[in-house]
Amino acid sequence: MASTSDLKKNLKILVDGDPYTVVEAQFVKPGKGTAFTKCRIKNLITGSVLERTWRSNESIELANTENRKMEFLYSEGEHFVFMDRETYEQFHVEAEVLGDDSRWLIDNLVTDVLFFNEKPVGVEFPTFVEMQIVHCEPGVRGDTATGASKPATLITGATVQVPLFVNEGEWLKIDTRTGEYVERVKK
């Protein structure tokens, strides 16, 4: 338990059973009366943002959350297996926790895994990942200006739009936030 004076940006709290992080906290005390802390909070599992106000005499329940650096090992049915880089402990993360993001999971990728009550509930990917193209139409030399693009299939099965000059077998840098091609990388 914590008090409302602990409500600061990035505090992890429990609201209606879900873990939230405080995005913004503002102390207000209108009319020399009861004090309140008005917050914007973000659900750590769904990402949705809420506004919530607490009276100063209310207590705040802290969420038992932890971020651990984990390496992706392999997938197994409906699960993805990650390993803690410090303790070598292995965890099964359910596919639904990753959703669409599982398409960026390449072997040995290191991610931040969010644990809530000792269970993995979220995986934060690095902003950029590098992946190899396993299939695309042959490249067209010199065409760098038109902005035309073509689909390319990556090693994990993900598809991204790439410029026409890009070739099969090349490595790409991908922005995991948007799923967009950034540039070619030499390997």
């Binding site: 102390f27 207000v28 005390k29 209108p30 009366g33 009861t34």
Partner: protein, 397 residues
């Protein structure tokens, strides 16, 4: 390049050259103990390329953290130092306003034996006394002594009040207009804003006065759909469409807590939609040191001035009272507040007997108001955090 000492660095001795933020300056003379590469405060006299300079040698790297703290610019390209210069101009105009109106500027002690017993007030202790959360008691003793209309710009201290709009130590402008009622006092707030607006180059985000007066009951009806602001807690919450917390039918909330919950959740976000507003006629239980309105004793002769905040929502700027003159009533209100504090485990502070005595002896009819100067400056400067207009916030000490 004439002017105040500024950070600079000696580049070479042959001919003496130095550089500062404006670039390379050529100097005809520089003190012998300064070596190329040395940083220092460059104090130049003369003009163009024939400058002479004394350099106050400093440790490198220079300018240091203090310089950067004051000169670092916000997204609008304005520094903290620019904000402090702006603040100085506002303070000077405020003093000028009251001086030209015949007010006496007073300075009352900051360390006092009683911080008052208001229910939601937490005082900072100073030895066996307290740092004053408001100069009200001492200023009223001066009024009882026949000082006439007075004003003060002072520090006020309130414990546990920290945030984007609160600093535990803040600057308050408090004034008392002898013989004036709150209608006249509100007009004086507007006159003050007009006076400063007409003399300050930085445009004010406040439209020119006058501003609307909105009784609290009307605000509850308009913004929260509450028909009776004095209704019990569950009714207030239900009419405002707010959930009742917990398992108890009233959510364990007192009327006052429910009142302020509605205020914070429903009224404040929209109160300043159309600009600044005087929120008048507060419920009688929130009279504090204000009198009740003779024609309607359910409400207090209390008002607050709110203005749109730079980051959205509203900013509470000032709190005014038609002052309570009845010493016995003031004493019984204070005793009630003290009983509340005891029941709620809040620290119990001593009553200010000399203040109560002064009221009992008789204070002239007067209206008084406290205005948060940091907030006014913050609003005008467009800062979304109070620290932007303070020399030092608490975490910078």
């Amino acid at each position: 390049m004439l002017g105040a000492p500024r950070p600079g660095r000696l580049v070479s001795r042959q001919p003496p050259l130095a550089e500062d933020a404006a670039g390379i300056v050529t100097l005809e003379h520089i003190h012998d103990d300064i070596q190329p590469g040395d940083w220092g405060w460059l104090h130049t006299t003369g003009e163009g390329t024939s400058l002479t300079a004394a350099v106050q040698k400093t440790a490198a790297p220079f300018p240091g953290e203090e310089w950067r703290r004051l000169h670092r610019t916000d997204p609008a390209g304005r520094s903290r130092l620019a904000a402090l210069r702006f603040r100085h101009r506002i303070m000077r105009r405020v003093r000028e306003f009251f001086d030209t109106r015949g007010y006496l500027e007073v300075e009352t002690p900051l360390r006092v034996p009683s911080p008052g017993v208001e229910t939601h007030l937490s005082a900072l202790s100073a030895d066996d006394w307290f740092l004053s959360p408001s100069p009200e008691f001492q200023m009223k003793r001066l009024l009882a002594g026949g000082a006439g209309s007075i004003y003060q710009i002072c520090r006020a201290f309130r414990r546990d009040e920290t945030g984007a709009r609160h600093n535990p130590e803040f600057t308050m402008l408090e004034w008392y207009a002898v013989g004036a009622d709150t209608t006249q006092l509100r007009a004086e707030v507007e006159a003050l804003i007009t006076y400063v607006q007409e003399r300050e180059d930085v445009p004010s985000p406040l439209p020119p006065p006058p501003y609307p007066r909105l009784p609290m009951a009307a605000a509850f009806a308009r913004f929260a759909g509450v028909t009776d602001m004095m209704a019990p807690a569950p009714v207030l919450l239900a009419q405002a469409g707010l959930p009742v917390p917990g398992d108890l039918p009233d959510g364990g909330l007192s009327w006052e807590e429910a009142f302020f919950t509605v205020f914070v959740e429903r009224i404040e976000p929209r109160l300043c939609e159309e600009g600044p507003v005087f929120l008048t006629q507060w419920p009688a239980p929130m009279a504090s040191l204000a009198r009740l309105i003779p024609e309607n004793p359910l409400v207090a002769d209390r008002f607050e001035f709110f203005a749109p905040a730079p980051g959205g929502g509203d900013l509470e700027i000032a709190n005014g009272f038609g002052e309570l003159l009845d010493g016995e009533l003031q004493r019984s209100r204070s005793l009630e507040d003290l009983a509340w504090r005891r029941a709620h485990g809040a620290p119990e502070y001593p009553l200010d007997e000399k203040f109560l005595q002064a009221l009992a002896e008789g204070m002239p009819p007067v209206s008084g108001i406290a205005l948060g100067l940091d907030r006014l400056v913050m609003l005008w400067w467009g800062a979304d955090h109070i620290r932007s207009v303070l020399t030092f916030a608490g975490d910078e000490l």
